[in-house]
Symmetry: C2
């Protein structure tokens, strides 16, 4: 009995956590319940039931299947369902008519053939990535409705009446879902995507802001790394970014079905969010490497540490600040002006560090001991490259989505420039960043506002 | 007209590509077509139609919705649907009975309340990750059937007959899908997962085997890196691994529904595949960093290059071979005996390199120029750590799934040892690898067969 009590308590706790994690889940569940109860009771209103007969069940079916968490997903499914039902219904009536012409014997053969062909072709079309992403459900409903309508052994006038009834009830069910999901505590997938993107950027910023201190203070005290699990946990926020691709893509897909809402206008550039997300992920891969360095830190030659510490701390903190500013810019939908100062600072810190490394001649150095700090240095420099890519893509977003303040700086963005083609291949970006012209260009574009910098930074053919 | 022709040609090409990419897609489409045509024609067999009436449409609906690409997905959906329909049908009849007791007035109110409560609770349960993964469809069908059955305004005896008809037709539709998907060119999700895992390991091996040569030969010729795009493309295979998590998880989920088939017995340890996949991904993140080095390679001091080149080439080639062997071991389901030699070789190469780095005193060295090669060295050493984790988890798989040859070496695996807890957090693994005892232990476990090595390798408190 105690065990049961414990299980119940555990379960209650879990329920509470899931609800607390995102309270919209609770309102969603209630919304589904209300919509379904309302639609179900259509059965009991004789004018409706009298009109549609048992077709009313299609309204219930539609509500159960179409009502999704976000407005975009619900609208997408609803439209898919309505349009596919309509098309397939019409086609089904046609097929049925054709088949009856073949006589009593030929009818089932012909119908079987039609169903086979349509089902096979439609099933195959579901393997097209574009169809899979947006119209998968529609194709399913298309096959379903076509089969039901064409095969049902009724006379034609009855079929048409039936098809119309079904279509109307599906519209009733679908509209109920859409109306309730839009007007009662709406959950906008676009808002979620927006939030995901800027919190991810913020997480990277958090990491970088604390990293410098963590890494170098590890040695500060006794020259031996401390095993500080707490810090690690605090720094682990970025890890969710590594696998955020699927979530971002589905949000963007749903968002594209949504009508204008909040700050997001008609044809808001959701695809640009995916690009920013991809670049954020690339940065996260490098941060992943950086975070490995914290625990692998080692007794280091003091001489070398002196050279790199100041530069690395500055790079880490300034680039962290740049990301935080960028995150705020995306969040508040303003043009990211203040970011450039921090980005510039971090770039010049990198520049200084590089030149001091170039001039530093250390004699009698044990190379093995230099390696960890050297790795941190190169990673930080690489990360600055990634960040300037992110800044670039946020600039683009600011222009496309007409963020506040975007027009005033539009001149620096609008001038013709060779486009960087970011693809979902990390290498390509690095290739661009490392091939001399583009990299210089990328940084220069970013720093166009601060002309002081256009000279140096990328004279080496690489950012390491 | 020319444009249309071009579009048609492009489309045909795309269709061909999708079919060629995985010919099972074509057979799948045909299977769906045949099953649906067969089930649709049930309408035309009067004994069946006479028995089930218009309930036959549920068979069609079931086929369209349940028939999925793999056996596991089909079985999972079919079972979900059958069980949920049965339970919800029974519950619905009960609810209907209760509601009629409330009289003409109370009935719709009570029923509305029932539907609301059930729909809200069930919708909320879909947010539980465990339910979402395996029973999402079942919950949907549960809500649907309950609403349909409880609300339908029929008398009770008719409801029960109707519920039974629906249930039988759903069973007929579901069984047709399952039978056809199992016995006609079956697509096993488990097989796909198995294949995905070993090809991913192989891809990493391919990269490492060619990397050493590519990286150092870049300088061989003229001291200046060549921009060899072809090589890059050849090395890019590993990139798909970075985002393979979702695919692996859904394969594993489907696989768990599948009956024993091929080499995969009852309760095949599919979860262990996810663990291997996760460790493979962690290795891929490091390879990602490594691949950035190829194009960022730079004029390097010859002196330093001499020190690291041999060691790095050996590490890269031997660890690549180890991975390839491991991939073959998983593929053929044999215990990975031959892997240890290569792993041992790569570990001793790392060991040698470390000690030569430790003793090498370079005077008048420009530190800045050392950094790239130093980075490659540390990454390779890190990767060897990752690989030994992968080897560990494949060993575990070999034991759990009783690979050929697994028993003979079971003694070295079965002996009590502190378990390493791998989580989907990259850091945790690194923490383990770097914290002295565990890392030594991990490597020692792996190398238990080759006692020659138990001494050295991890005397430093870190693998860098």
């Amino acid at each position: 009995f105690m065990k049961l009590k414990k299980n119940v308590a555990e379960f209650a706790n879990k329920v509470k956590m899931i609800g607390k994690d995102d309270p919209r889940r609770i309102t969603h569940s209630i919304k589904v319940g209300i919509t379904l109860a309302l639609v179900s009771l259509l059965y009991y209103f004789s004018p409706v039931y009298g009109g549609f007969g048992s077709s009313t069940m299609w309204a219930i079916l539609t509500v159960v299947v179409v009502f999704e968490f976000s407005v975009g997903a619900t609208l997408g499914k609803g439209l898919n369902r309505a349009i596919a039902t309509f098309l397939a219904g019409a086609l089904g009536v046609g097929a049925h008519h054709l088949a009856t012409l073949a006589g009593k014997e030929g009818e089932p053969i012909l119908l079987g053939l039609f169903v086979f062909l349509l089902a096979a072709v439609a099933s195959f079309s579901r393997f097209f990535p574009g169809i899979k992403a947006r119209y998968d459900y529609g194709v399913l409903i298309f096959i379903l409705t076509f089969s039901l309508v064409s095969v049902s052994g009724y006379r034609e006038d009855k079929i048409i009446r039936l098809a119309l009834h079904r279509f109307s009830t599906i519209i009733i069910g679908g509209l109920s879902c859409v109306v309730i999901s839009i007007f009662v505590f709406p959950v906008w997938a676009g808002e979620d995507l927006h939030k995901l993107i800027f919190t991810n950027i913020e997480k990277l910023g958090d990491f970088l802001q604390t990293f410098g201190g963590e890494y170098f203070e590890n040695f500060e005290k006794d020259g031996v790394p401390k095993d500080d699990k707490k810090t690690l946990l605090h720094l682990n926020g970025y890890k969710t970014i590594l696998n955020s691709k699927t979530a971002e893509e589905s949000f963007a897909n749903f968002a594209s079905w949504e009508p204008p809402n909040g700050g997001f206008g008609y044809r808001h550039p959701w695809k640009q969010y995916l690009k920013i997300g991809m670049l954020t992920r690339q940065c996260a891969y490098r941060i992943e490497s950086l975070s490995n360095c914290i625990n692998n830190s080692q007794v280091q030659p003091l001489e070398f540490k002196k050279i790199v510490q100041k530069g690395c701390m500055e790079m880490s903190i300034e680039s962290g600040k740049a990301l935080k500013e960028l995150s705020i810019a995306v969040k508040t939908m303003r043009h990211p002006d203040s970011v450039f100062t921090h980005l510039k600072n971090s770039i010049s810190a990198a520049d200084n560090l590089k030149s001091s490394l170039r001039t530093a001649k250390m004699e009698n150095t044990n190379i093995f001991e230099l390696i960890p700090a050297a790795k941190v240095t190169t990673l930080l420099i690489e990360i600055i490259g990634c960040i300037s890519n992110i800044v670039d893509s946020v600039n683009e977003l600011s222009r496309l989505a007409k963020f506040k303040g975007a027009e005033t700086t539009a001149t620096s963005v609008d001038k013709p420039k060779p486009q960087l083609h970011h693809e979902e291949t990390l290498n390509s970006v690095t290739v661009e960043t490392s091939s001399h012209d583009n990299a210089t260009h990328a940084i220069i574009t970013v720093c166009a506002l601060s002309t002081a910098l256009e000279s140096g930074i990328l004279e080496d053919p690489l950012i390491l």
